[in-house]
Amino acid sequence: MADKLRNQQELERLQAKYVGTGHPDTTSWEWKTNIHRDTYSSIVGHPPLLSYMALAQNEPVAKFRVQMIRKMLQPVGPPPPREEDIIMSNTQNGS
């Protein structure tokens, strides 16, 4: 009982500290959003990688960086209103 409670609290603390962590009720949409955001922030956070990609895209580094940051806003579309709508909304927004 107490153990469960403690686990719960630990998980909550973890979640507060690391947004990307999940729990058994994490939806697929949340998870995918986090994946994308992590990817973009990783690219932005590693300057060599960023300049490499900017070069490949033939874009200025700063511009590419802003692009990456902008993409973090709802990277996989808006949150699904209902379970079955996820796929629909993804297809509308998907790029």
């Binding site: 994490t26 995918k32 490949a56």
Partner: protein, 1204 residues
Amino acid sequence: MSDAEFEQIRKLQAERNAAAAAKKGSRTFDPSTQRADTTKAKLTEAWDTDIYDRETEDKYAGYHRTLPAANGDEDEDMLDADNTRRLVGQYTATRAQIDEFAHGAGVEEDDRLAGRGERSTRIVDRETDYQKRRFNRTLEPTRADPFANSQGGAQEGATYREIMERRELEREEERVRQAIAQKMKEGQTEEHKPLLKDSTEAEKDKETEKEKDENDKNKSETSADSATTGRKRKSRWDVSSTDTTDQTAAPAEPKKKSRWDQAPAVPVPGAEQPKKKSRWDQAPAATPIGNVGLATPMHPSQGAAFDLSARNRYLTDEELDAMLPGPEEGYKIVEPPPGYVPVRPAHKLVTAPPVATGFTMQDPSSSRLSQPMPKEIPGVGDLAFFKPEDMAYFGKLADGANEDELSVEELKERKIMRLLLKVKNGTPPMRKTALRQLTDNARNFGAGPLFNQILPLLMEKSLEDQERHLLVKVIDRILYKLDDMVRPYVHKILVVIEPLLIDQDYYARMEGREIISNLAKAAGLATMISVMRPDIDHVDEYVRNTTARAFAVVASALGIPALLPFLRAVCRSKKSWQARHTGVKIVQQIPILMGCAVLPHLKQLVECIAPNLNDEQVKVRTVTALAIAALAEASNPYGIESFDEILNPLWTGARKQRGKGLAAFLKAVGYIIPLMDEDYANYYTRDEKVVLKVISQCAQTDGVTAGYLKEHVLDGFFKNFWVRRMALDKRNYRQVVETTVDIGQKVGVSEILERIVGNLKDESEAYRKMTVETVEKLVASLGAADIGERLEERLIDGILHAFQEQTVEDIVMLNGFGSVVNALGTRCKPYLPQIVSTILWRLNNKSPTVRQQAADLVSRIAMVMKQCGEDALMGKLGVVLYEYLGEEYPEVLGSILGALRSIVTVVGINQMQPPIKDLLPRLTPILRNRHEKVQENTIDLVGRIADRGPESVNAREWMRICFELLDMLKAHKKGIRRAANNTFGFIAKAIGPQDVLATLLNNLRVQERQSRVNTAVAIGIVAETCAPFTVLPALMNEYRVPELNVQNGVLKSLSFLFEYIGEMAKDYVYAVTPLLEDALIDRDQVHRQTAASVVKHIALGVVGLGCEDAMIHLLNLLYPNLFETSPHVIDRIIEAIEAIRMAVGPGLVLNYVWAGLFHPARKVRTPYWRLYNDAYVQCADAMVPYYPNLEEDKIDRTELAIVL
């Protein structure tokens, strides 16, 4: 030191050893057998109980274990305080003796082990005698509520006037009782005095008169007269003029009786003393027996009636039926004749309970007395526990009465009872709902029914912390709800809550404060004052003390200004000094409670108590000074202007005081001075009558310079305080030492030492000790750099003298000597021969403590001796110490071993005298000694030898030591176990691992867990020191033994082994993999768990070393264990998987994780998410390339595919 002298010492030593060995039953080392315990006496126990305590005994006996409850103000027992001036010191019993008497015949006798178990949670068990005085208080009748809107029934109950009158009576009774007790003590010898004496004579000689009126039974007239002529009485009885002369005679009456036909009355709480009862049935008594005029009936369990011992209880009808022949045998039970009334005199029930003495067998089968414990209380459900004491309170619930027949009131009572029981004894969820119900319905239940049940529960003797906490919580909650309905019960609540204010437990104190402050807010200031006013000059100091504290809480709750007029009045009370005392005490408690929040009202508070500085009562003056000290302390560094008014009385007053009063005044002065600005401070310090505490605090103040101290203070200080008398009193002693050290910080070491070094040769031992302690503290903190040559000589000379002359070996001397020698360093060289000679003589002393101290001194100065290049002297010391390894007292032996160790450390193995090859064999049997100090020192010494010079001893000896070390692996002290483990490593290195390993592997088969664990650790260490390939084959071979313990042991050793060897593991991974395969698919959980921890340590060792294939293989075996539920197992499994993730990278391991993150079954998702989260926390960035391909959702992260 001459050789002749050395030889002489050795000769004496040899004689002593021989004599000791010859003694029958001696446990002295016998060189022929290498066994010390020829008679197999227990090694862990000291024979000599005069010097050494048995281990089982409480080593803190005789010490105070509790903080004094009355902080600073030590007038705990005013009534019998000794105000006489004695010319001779008073000799009192030790604390232990007093405690023994205090507990000997009390209630605690019932279960002597009650407080000693694991950790007693009962509150009474940790209370001081002073705190136990709370049981003397009783719940008094409900008070009338004069502030009520005259509509409810709150008007009934005792009024303020009644209470005040009762207090007056109590005071008088107490005084009379004391007088009687006094006479009981003194009067015995005067029994033979003439019984008849005429009354005029009696008027003249009051003391004899009192004597007489006891003896003289016939002349009640005279006795009544004489009672009224008593000195104190006159003034008191003038005041309460309502009492008639009838009543004045009354207190004198019982005296006659008590003398002749009764044992000295021991006041039994709850039981009324018969002498009082005879006359006083109309007036409420000081300790009322339950039910007499109480709105809250005293609980039966608190009465004496329940204390009827088992043997004397009446037989019940059932029992009689069982014992006597019945109708079947032709007998019949005769009806009692009409009009028969059984004679059961009521007073029998209230006689003092028979004290349970003598030995009685507990008979488990005799259940006739104890009511059977109910399995379940109807309507309550499963409780967490149910104590026998609870039966007295909650028994009603189990009586099976038909609820339909009960009245509404009774139903309500039962409902409350049930809820309280749930709160007190229930499980947490049960408690929660019950608490909520109680709170929500509080106003419906009404204050009376609630408090009538809660408060007696809180007075229960067997109450535990948790229960008290919960009940207090209940009170807290219902206070909010009841609000002004609580007024009639304020006093009762205070009676049970006030003791919390002086509890040792911080949280209990906090709880108490919270309740009282809530109570104050609910009941209002007027009620609080009218309820607590009568207690302010209560006879019992305990009541006054707690009331003062409660008042301080009220002040903090309702604001100081609200309470100030009342405080002013109380502090100026002309009627009784107790009231003034309590009033000042309230003022003292307020700053302690509120801290700097008193600042706005500082001036008023100081003004309020200022006149009391010149009170005629010493105690009032003392407490006033303490109150000022508290105010000054709380307001530091502000507020000096508020104290202006009292500065003069304080300074002039300080000169007139003595004893405790003086101490209090000085404390106040000491706290006020830091508030002053610097010049001002100097002015006041210049006062010629400077005093310790003040000096100490002034010396720390910035404004006082070293020059000033030297010029004005030092001479006077040393003249007045460095006198022998100071050393005799423990407190003065400490204070003087502290102050001197403080001054020393300013003026330098030599200035002080110059003055006190002569005292080292003083004839008073306590004075020498005080000097040594001061020297030690000064030298330790400031060094010896500014000590001149001459002074240095005098210092060493003095300290040697003091050391030699001590009659009781004291750690102070040892520390002092050690610090001085270490501070002087190489400057000691000229004195070393003399010091060593002293040590040698003392090592040969008859008294063990002297020997121990000498050996301890060797360990302290060994370093300095080395620095001085006195190797020869150390050799001599070594030889003598070596001879003493036969020492029989373990404490001394431990010190000798410690001394040897420090010598070995500084001179090195090769230069050691005696040579190691002689020394070590002597140590082997000592390893078997079970005394911790001996063990620790031996193992340290042996380990050092094994580390630095293993070649000096042959392998066989080392093996023998190995066997002895095995036992040490299960020592209680961690340091010993660790030293033993390290020593294993050293020995294995010295003689090769084979033999050592064989010993260790055998040890894996023993049953004892601790021992197996330690063996496993030792194997790990051996593997580390001797390379794993020497150990692994044998270890893996051992795994083939079909015995779980052994296999687990092997796995455990492997786990430690791989932890220790780290990267070296890469060469052995493939070798152990088959073994791990087997272990990971074992049926036994623990087996898999241990195997997982092996995997973890291997994996962490081989990160980046190219063993990925093996790791993946192990991961495959580990992974199915993911669904284990036992916390230990699952933790180890997860750790192992994480370690493998470290070794092979997150990409591969995460491939296992994706599968279950969105599994339909939550049971599957949960551990998978745990793995994912752990991976995310540890290497989120590294996971980026490995996230699953989201192409089919058309949301793939295309950026990752960019290639230049």
